[in-house]
Symmetry: C2
Subunit: 406 residues, 2 copies
């Protein structure tokens, strides 16, 4: 054919998925692989979802409204009410996962070469959406040593220029596990007001917080309610990643009209999945309590294992189900490849995600990996033992692959 677009060429392969062929090769050799590379929960999807779909038939599977089924939007409004947020149904539009919500937010707010500020490391697919929209990500570096908390008001302000349109961030954070403090959120609110920015708040991990207080939404800061765009999804909340049901919510009518035009272009979101999603509103609170306890136990296992590994730096993650660990190696991806291809304990091994692809600043994250603790406690424990022994073996076998000052 002919040439590929520059934006197409510049997109990176997913650091979460690109090493899956190595995992498949390991499986072919008869090894069991613990997948810590991907945020695919192993928690059961509530039966409510399948029940609702099973009983749904229509003679003609017709287009749904572009903005989403009324029943689905109402169920989301009800969900937010339960979390202390008031939305009319017309302030909510159903999207193809949180992914489409982010893409549409960027397209509605930014023109080619406009900029958004994103704390790094960040969810790697933000890169994909920014490339697709031809929007520049201006990365705000945060560090493992600081638990990935934000730099100062002034440091962030230095990143802002006339082309800056928004701050995009996930809270609780993927891949860092950070939960922003009230002070950090208020600081971002101040910045947004002072510099006329929008906050695109990716809050899909709202339920996954392990401290004493619930995660606050940017929508709960009254003075910026008109400049927050919320991105949300049922994927993690109800362990329903394969449903691809997300939403975009905003109090700004003109913004929502623009998003609706984008939605009309792609016509609609699948009907059946919307019906299943709407039914999930009846999931009892006990479900979330149990899930949270389960993830807290996983987090504790993973974090304490990492803490015991020599030369590994990480802070206790407070939310989501990820942790970024800085390793005493020069090249995290090389170590990840070693683990999956050349190391096992009793024919068991693990796949991690190299963290470099979660950073926009070249070179950063090269010695880091992201661990997704989506497996049950005993599997997390086994995978951590493999990682620990693997790291020892790697450092012993390849001393030249350790940094000079380690």
């Amino acid at each position: 054919m002919t040439r590929i677009s520059r934006r197409g060429e510049s997109m990176q392969a997913s650091p979460i998925r690109k090493l899956i062929p190595l995992a498949n090769a390991a499986k072919k050799k008869g090894k069991h692989v613990y997948h810590l590379n991907i945020g695919q929960p192993d928690i059961e999807t509530p039966a409510l979802f399948f029940d609702a779909i099973e009983h749904h038939r229509e003679p003609v599977l017709a287009y749904a409204p572009s903005e989403g089924l009324e029943v689905t939007r109402r169920s989301f409004a009800k969900y937010y009410q339960q979390h202390g947020m008031d939305f009319d149904t017309d302030e909510i539009i159903v999207t193809n996962g949180g992914s489409e919500a982010i893409l549409f937010a960027l397209l509605a707010l930014c023109d080619t070469d406009d900029e958004i500020i994103v704390p790094e490391p960040f969810y790697t697919n933000y890169n994909s959406f920014a490339s697709a929209a031809d929007v520049k990500i201006c990365a705000l570096t945060t560090r493992a040593e600081d638990g990935f908390h934000l730099p100062s008001f002034e440091a962030i302000e230095r990143k802002i220029n006339p082309r800056t349109r928004a701050i995009l961030l996930s809270n609780p954070g993927n891949p860092t596990g950070v939960v922003y403090t009230d002070e950090e959120m208020e600081m971002l609110a101040d910045l947004a007001i002072k510099h006329d920015l929008v906050i695109i708040a990716d809050e899909v991990y709202r339920e996954f917080v392990y401290g004493d207080t619930a995660c606050r939404s940017f929508f709960q800061i009254d003075r910026i309610r008109d400049r927050v765009v919320m991105v949300d999804s049922i994927s993690k909340r109800y362990s329903a990643c394969g449903a691809r049901i997300g939403l975009i919510a905003s109090k700004d009518k003109v913004f929502m009209e623009t998003v609706l035009k984008l939605c009309q272009g792609r016509l609609c979101v699948p009907t059946l999945e919307q019906i299943g999603a709407a039914a999930l509103i009846d999931t009892p609170p006990s479900y979330f309590e149990k899930v949270r306890e389960e993830y807290r136990a996983r987090r504790d296992i993973v974090f304490s294992a990492l803490s015991e590994m020599e030369g590994v730096i990480c802070r206790e993650p407070q939310g989501a189900f990820y942790v970024i660990a800085k390793l005493p190696v020069k090249d995290g991806e090389d170590f990840v490849r070693f683990l999956i291809s050349d190391f096992d304990i009793d024919q068991e091994t693990t796949l991690l995600a190299p963290a470099e692809g979660f950073y926009a600043t070249p070179g950063l994250g090269k010695d880091e990996v992201r661990i997704s603790y989506c497996l049950k406690v005993e599997d997390c424990a086994k995978a951590m033992r493999i990682m620990k022994e693997g790291l020892k073996t790697y450092c012993t076998r390849f001393p030249q692959k350790m940094p000079v000052n380690a």
Copy 2:
């Protein structure tokens, strides 16, 4: 909030959907509305689709592969084999409807301000995807009087410049009903080769042709097999618009790798809908024969009714289920609004789509409407009677709204 992006502002509201509020108002007054505005077939979705989903449960509704389920891609490969086209499964990627396939094709091939040539009038959402991708549509005007067939090689060539990357067109054509002749397709192939262009062939209406010969695919022109991108969908074929299952197919590995990166960004297409779509491959040929006969009868009713309306210009459409009619009025949208809001026969009225939004060239299509003949024969007949009487009444009541030379 703050300002909206220029591309967001420049997107038009869907000419197919924007007048639906008027239809809803008519319904509130107790009127029955025949919807000729939208390509929403009333044909039953084959039960195979729902059967397959009903029997599908999994403990965790996990992410599907970004490129689509193997079973779904294989079913598409089998479908093409039945239509004389050979595709490996890795030459097919499942998308969120044909819509996403078009958007991804543009993103993978074009950078900001690159151009694509599109015969106009064209499927109005091409505008949305081009706006989202910041790609310029260079419209190639075709006319009702010519049955919307293409202009000459030289006329098309004059539209090509160094930024031209592709020719995008639907065949059979939405909204025109045109089916391109062998000569037209060969001419486009020559142009593509001569000017190093890609042909993005939107062939979602393949089964809907009413002449004696099947619709040829651009993939069946051997010398351009490596520069064709096929966009396809189950929406119209199986009357399954609400499933949002489409695909992109190409023989070009680098292009497909780029599309895969875009797919990885949005993670996957819903699992259940893919399973339903895969089951549809077992739809018997008799289904399509019956559907085709039904649509041919509808086409005949609509076309003969239009032919009898004074001052209306249109040629017999050969495919899809649309026809563009040029009316003896100054402003087609004004007439469409009159019909739906101020005219009825025995409390029944009809909604058409103003055609101006299907053109990129300002002013064109202003005196035209698109009619989608997706309703059963007797409903099409009633709607045509309403249109005919409505047009007479409109022209009598508002002589100033007729063109001077009419």
